[in-house]
């Protein structure tokens, strides 16, 4: 027992820490646009997620890996700012327990735990996850002086993507800066790209996946747009509206559930993700494209790795 107690409570891993650093701008943006309530949600998700993993690892006999915080940050930032506290906590428990620990803990999760938790919430509590967005705060001091959106701001505020379906375009500057309604951490394209480039530069995220994701997305969106199929319209507009940038930098690159073994695998994985996002956005009745595309791509990642490795072995043999 003495041996177990002396073990560290948390095992910090450098790539995971870097992802967290990369997410800090998005966290600040979420406080600015949606008030301090978003920080409270972030804290709740982190504490419940950590406790879930801690209890599952037999109360400290093994250290909790820092990956749990990355999952928690991503889950919290992908939720709408008006979400009830208990719902956010439930998402963290489901994501960590059934998305990660049930599969054997860190390094063995097939799916991105954050997206598992979010998918659970999204399908279970459709109202809170899809129809209760908040208007962002603007000007100085913005959300830094407010706790959260008041009831008047909340009712059915549409996001730029859902507005577009009705033919209303949000101004470009707003889209890029992020004072639009949406999930807590996914609105500010500029800050997300900054953080994203940081983690790609530090090799915490594989650049092949990110570039592949962008290529797949833009090509598919352009093809759909030109053929007049897609509701999402202009590819650049579609890129900045919604959570694609957040997804392609931070969600899809999660090292355990992504296809990480080979370079061709990374490319295919990223491109597949980009295309599937466009397809889901254009045709699905449940347009949480980034989330479902991530889960779908996760599912094929082990198969990709396996097939490519097998092919290489065959080539070596001949």
């Amino acid at each position: 027992m003495a041996e177990a107690k002396s073990a560290k409570l948390i095992q910090w891993q450098l790539p995971m820490k870097r992802v967290l650093y990369g997410l800090i701008p998005a966290v600040i943006a979420s406080i600015y646009f949606f008030g301090w309530r978003s920080l409270v949600i972030l804290a709740i998700v982190n504490v419940t997620g950590f406790l879930t993993e801690f209890i599952f690892l037999r109360r400290g006999k093994e250290p909790v890996t820092s990956a749990v915080f990355v999952s928690n940050f991503i889950l919290a930032l992908s939720l709408p700012p008006t979400i009830p506290y208990w719902m956010a906590a439930l998402g963290a428990v489901v994501g960590i327990l059934f998305g990660k620990m049930a599969f054997g803990g860190f390094g063995k999760n097939v799916f991105n735990p954050a997206m598992v938790g979010r998918a659970f919430l999204y399908i279970s509590f459709g109202g809170q996850l899809t129809a209760s967005w908040a208007n962002p705060f603007v000007g100085f001091p913005g959300g830094f002086a407010r706790y959260g959106a008041v009831a008047a701001d909340i009712i059915g505020q549409a996001t730029p993507l859902s507005q577009l379906a009705k033919g209303v375009q949000t101004p470009w500057l707003q889209l890029i800066l992020g004072n639009i309604s949406g999930s807590m951490g996914e609105t500010s394209a500029v800050l997300l790209i900054l953080g994203g480039l940081y983690i790609v530069w530090k090799k915490a995220a594989a650049w092949q996946i990110v570039v592949g994701g962008f290529c797949g997305f833009l090509v598919a969106q352009t093809v759909f747009w030109l053929t007049g199929l897609s509701l999402a319209g202009n590819p650049l507009y579609a890129l900045f509206a919604g959570s694609f940038i957040f997804g392609v930098f931070f969600v899809i690159t999660e090292p355990v559930s992504a296809s990480q073994a080979t370079n061709p695998g990374r490319w295919i994985y990223g491109i597949f993700f980009g295309i599937v996002v466009v397809v889901i956005r254009s045709f699905s009745a449940w347009p949480a494209a980034v989330m479902f595309a991530t889960l779908l791509a996760n599912m094929f990642a082990p198969l990709l790795d396996y097939l490519i490795k097998q092919r290489r072995q065959k080539r070596k043999a001949t």
Binding site: L90, F98, F120, I123, S124, F125, G126
Partner: protein
């Protein structure tokens, strides 16, 4: 003899251990009452067909045994289907085509082929009961989880004034809807299977540990203190 009955409930539970009859388990486990009805139907068909097949096993030619089994099973399923339509029409509507599909349910055909066609009548009878009860219990567990968490209710048979639906305060207003939908069935069965596997593994490792302790106790004194110290 008793083990022929009990093995169906735990050690060879049709749904969680040998993974038979998953299709109806996925489809009808949305409400507890469906699980009860389906379970009762399966127990009846299993009993009837295993008894008949066990009795007739010497007269059925090897080559056409499967079609013969199907004919026997289908007769009992027809009985269940008609009785259900007559006396429990709402249940019959809920279960829909899955009552008729008991004909091709792999639990029944599987037990007929693997057990009843080779064993004596009494053993087959106990096996049918055990498997049927095991299936029903598993279905009840799945449907209880799905209905309580996914809809916030427990639906039982309507008796007299009681309409059969128990609302669970707090959950019925905002249930986790995903569990009531189709993916919920797969998730619940998958994670329950994982849980039972884990329990089985733990039990196995405990038995090994017990055996080691017993042998350590019997061994010379040098080995025992070390083992005891490590355990406490």
């Amino acid at each position: 003899m008793y083990s022929e009955f009990s093995k169906g409930i735990f050690k060879e539970n049709p749904i969680f251990i040998i993974l038979l009859g998953l299709c109806p388990a996925l489809a009808v486990s949305t409400q507890v009452v469906n699980a009860l009805g389906m379970g009762a139907g399966v127990i009846f068909v299993l009993l009837g067909s295993e008894i008949f097949i066990s009795l007739l096993k010497d007269f059925i030619p090897e080559r056409i045994r499967i079609p013969s089994f199907i004919v026997i099973i289908a007769s009992f399923v027809t009985v269940v289907d008609l009785v259900m339509q007559a006396y429990a029409p709402s249940l019959s509507r809920n279960l829909g085509v899955f009552v008729q599909l008991i004909v091709v349910n792999c639990i029944i055909l599987g037990r007929a082929e693997a057990f009843a066609s080779k064993r004596k009548l009494a053993e087959s009878l106990l096996d049918a009961l055990g498997m049927g009860v095991g299936f029903t219990l598993a279905l009840l567990l799945i449907s209880a989880i799905r209905e309580i968490l996914g809809s916030g209710t427990i639906t039982l048979l309507a008796v007299g004034r009681f309409d059969g639906v128990i609302l669970i305060p707090g959950l019925s207003s905002q249930p986790a809807r995903v569990l009531a939908l189709a993916p919920g069935a797969l998730l619940v069965i998958g994670f329950l299977k994982a849980l039972f596997n884990w329990l089985g593994m733990r039990k196995a490792s405990r038995t090994v540990w017990k055996l080691e302790k017993m042998s350590a106790a019997g061994a010379p004194a040098t080995g025992a203190p070390a083992g005891a110290g490590g355990a406490s």
